[in-house]
Symmetry: C2
Subunit: 294 residues, 2 copies
């Protein structure tokens, strides 16, 4: 089974646990699927699974649970971030956002249910390796909630004075460090040596996202553009210009590859990061318009 | 230490884990505390802790984690239910709701962070008894999210046709069955025999809530009244009348006491349920106005 197929199967299995059977509220059950499939690039589960495979992947069900839990949390954050009180987005991944398609109450509940489901599917595998599962749950929680997870990252935008380093680390970096560390934990390895790889991929992703937000049109991106500029959010393109941000992105990804700990699948993992570097580095179809916006 | 003091200490300790230290977004950190203290009656943690103590309470830290996790989930549900897209409530427990005091984005994030924190504080105690903790996390998840938890209960209100039994069991009953079962699990007992006690207390609580919504004024209740009538929600007072609903409440609580499994602290637990029965049964200062509303 290819990596993509394995990831999609794991996510679909997790969603069907949440959907249940019998007397369930059908619209929320449907929204859980709508919010998670068809997915985006599945970057976080891909990184998680790649790290676990590089470390031997001796308990594949733990790896599957870790990868899908990460994606459920990521999708929950997208659903809540799209709400009218945040980005007020109408479109996500080329289709109406959950609150547009289902209603705002169901969007709040979809996010809540996906967060809960992420922890449930991890706990369900506890019998295989209780220590690993407990550490994975704690890692995922700390990278999702307060004081340093993606909720904290989003909350920095409500502060009068922003700690930029804490903001970026929490808002974008947190789930990438969760991805590398949960991959290592799923395969029975210590998580600490895997922090840097996740942090650097997160940093690269933030710069790439800034570039995409500045360079692409809404149709290519499948969501509204110019949001950073509109909301006055800190942005690498505003600080460094388009070419400067592209150079920065390449340097960070070089550092990410250099940080990979020694492990059986080290070379293959470096290859995966290189492939992502290619995908992340944007071609610039619309630099003129972007520079006007920035 | 009295039960109330122990509960407040456990919740405060959990919140301080979520608040962290150093560079954290201060308003969200403050909102975590605002949403959870001063609390309401702490009914769910009281039930959970009472059951654990009736079963021997051999790992008090597990009991504390279970009780506070339940209250964090309950408070998260209040914060999200108060949002403009649900009840649009301005007042909760006699003070402005979180979205009024802090903003709507911070209210969404407060709920999300409290949900995550509930699972984290359980997982942190895994070393004491990994099997119990994994079962507590699964129990809490299934009573919080989809397909049968309080999220599912809330989602029934978005369905064209409502399964009333599934709706009540999920919306109000779920966290009460979680409370009795997590209390039993924390003390190393099987959770199944404790389901009925939780289910009946939940049923009683729903009827009592319907009575309070119909009978009390906003100042006594600390939140808007007549909400069930306003939103056309199913309500025991509408079905049975005020006196009928009060009789029903007493019958259910009698059944709850009769359902308590044999355990060392059985008599004391029955006393606790009787004390709650007294508190739950409303005196009716304003029956005329309520009957007009109903």
């Amino acid at each position: 089974m290819g990596l993509n197929t394995r990831i999609e199967a794991a996510i679909a299995a997790a969603i069907s646990v949440g959907q249940g059977s019998g007397a369930v509220p059908g619209r929320l059950a449907s929204a859980l699927d709508y919010a998670t499939a068809p997915g985006g690039a599945r970057i976080r589960p891909t990184i998680c699974m790649s790290v676990a495979m590089a470390c031997g992947d001796d308990k594949p069900r733990l790896t599957d649970a870790a990868a899908s839990a990460l994606e459920l949390i990521h999708c929950a954050s997208l659903v809540h971030d799209d709400l009218p009180c945040f980005d007020n987005a109408d479109v996500r991944r080329g289709k109406p956002t959950v609150h547009r398609a289902y209603s705002e109450p169901l969007a709040v509940l979809t996010g809540d249910s996906l967060i809960v489901l992420a922890f449930e599917i991890l706990a369900r595998e506890s019998g295989l390796a209780p220590d690993r599962v407990a550490q994975m749950i704690i890692t995922l929680a700390r990278r999702t909630g307060m004081p340093g997870g993606i909720c904290a990252g989003q909350a920095w935008e409500s502060e009068a004075e922003v700690n930029l380093s804490a903001y970026h680390q929490a808002k974008t970096g947190a789930l990438f460090t969760a991805a590398t560390q949960m991959g290592a934990l799923a395969a029975g390895q210590e998580p600490e040596p895997w922090f840097e790889l996740g942090a650097r991929i997160g940093e690269a992703f933030q710069v790439a996202d800034d570039l995409r937000d500045a360079l692409y049109d809404a149709e290519t991106l499948g969501k509204p553009v110019g949001q950073d500029h509109l909301h006055g959010r800190p942005n690498a393109v505003a600080q460094l210009g388009v070419q400067g941000a592209i150079s920065r992105l390449r340097d960070i990804l070089g550092g990410a590859i250099a940080s990979i700990p020694h492990c059986p699948g080290e070379a293959q993992l470096a290859e995966m990061v290189r492939a992502y570097a290619e995908r992340l580095t944007p071609v610039a179809p619309n630099i003129g318009a972007a520079q006007q916006r920035v």
